[in-house]
Amino acid sequence: MRWSLPDIEDRPAARPAPRPSRSRAAALRAASGPGFREVCRARPLLGTRVEIRAGGDAAEEDLHAAVDLAFAAVERVHRLMSYHDPGSELTRLNRHAGAAPQRVSAGTLAVLEAALHFARLSEGAFDPGVAATLEQWGYLPKIGAAPPAGSWRDVEVTPDGCVRFHRPVRLDLGGIAKGFAVDLAVRTLREAGVEAVVVDAGGDLRVAGIVPRRIGLRDPRAPAGSVHSVDLENAALATSAGYFSRRWDGERYVSALVDPASAQPFLAGSSVSVRAFDCMTADALTKVVLFAPPAVAERALAQCEAHAFVQASPGP
């Protein structure tokens, strides 16, 4: 299945007209021709480094203007769905959706509905309700005293588009919002007429347009380098592994990846990458492949027309 992205507010009304599409062969010729320019910029967003690469035969300042718009889209996702920001819509849900239904923007609603979809599809292996554990391990700020009794199963989207919690839940969209932000940035760039696009949010990335790319997979045993690679053409790739987030909390090692069934941290020296059409799907499915029984993971991958690449290593 494929997601249609919602409009999220303050998209600029006037956009440059998309340029006419050309044949693949002509496009690839153009991409290696002398008129092809590329700009590549990065900003600290979504708690990581977000890199945008935009190429085409447009003037450099037009490419920069399109990249500015795409970063603005990522910044909106950051503002709406950050667990760390006390002013975000997500924080409002976590504080008040237990007491009364809350109305949220189309973007937050779309990501929340996708999160619930992947939770159901994976029988809970993708779980947007593990935030209380992550709070305890210090990966997320504490937003309330009592640990919540509910889970993602207690989250309801009402027919008029509001969100309510039937029991207290701490929702965290961190396992999926990065992918959504990447998809939104890609759409913004393509609508601005950019012909070759790569948007990379700390290793969750999507390639769109006329230039295919080869993406290295970080070696989980030596993450500065890569041995294996995956080719992407109008597709997304996301990876989950514990090597950057693993740390000692005084009693034991913890990581930012929680197995929802056991509430144990994922510490193995392996990594899981998923290739899918869009980045939100790829982002969610890495957690499904990590934590679901193999048959459930295979079924979810098939339903999403996705593939997984596991770099397996014995021991941590």
Partner: protein
């Protein structure tokens, strides 16, 4: 049924790989991008020992005098270039402050990454001196992006907090 899960074995012995090093733009390009057409005047950032300890108290972040560079724009805004060293990465970044002292734009200028202790060693950092924007960038099948677990940008956030503290205590109103 064909499996949709492909397993790659991981070599028992790590293969030595070059560290990831990216130069997004030069300082001049960042100035042009953030302050189109305005002329910028370099402003020395001189920190006394008392300033350093006050800024460290205010921001909660260690100060290395001499790292931060500042320019004042015609409209009263400021342009900064600063660097932070994380556990695995060395990041040089530019910040535009409006005349009201609010952050207008943040762009990463250079990003270098290693896994292990190398990032703090002088020798490791020295190998990147003189690299220009555009080095080793080709359109085509070369690997330009690496997919992996997310690396936190916590240190950069701390750097910006330190920079705002330096601005407020040493530069604003002067």
């Amino acid at each position: 049924m064909n499996s949709r899960i492909l397993i790659f074995p991981v070599a028992a012995v790590a293969i030595c790989q070059p560290a990831l090093a990216l130069v997004y733009m030069s300082v001049e390009q960042a100035q042009q991008l953030m302050f189109k057409g305005q002329s910028l005047t370099a402003v020395p950032v001189i920190l006394t020992a008392a300033d350093v300890s006050a800024i460290e108290r205010d921001s909660g972040v260690k100060v290395y005098p001499g790292v931060l560079r500042a320019w004042k724009a015609e409209d009263g805004g400021y342009f900064f270039v600063d660097a932070v060293i994380g556990k695995h990465e060395l990041i040089t970044y530019a910040v535009a402050l409006g005349p009201d002292g609010k952050v207008g734009q943040v762009e990463i200028i250079e990003y270098r990454e290693a896994y292990g202790g190398e990032v703090r060693s002088e020798r490791w950092r020295a190998q990147f001196v003189g690299k220009q924007h555009g080095d080793a960038v080709h359109v085509g099948r070369d690997i330009q992006n690496i997919s992996g677990a997310t690396m936190s940008s916590e240190h950069l956030t701390e750097g910006i907090r330190r920079l705002l503290s330096i601005y407020a205590m040493v530069l604003a109103g002067h």
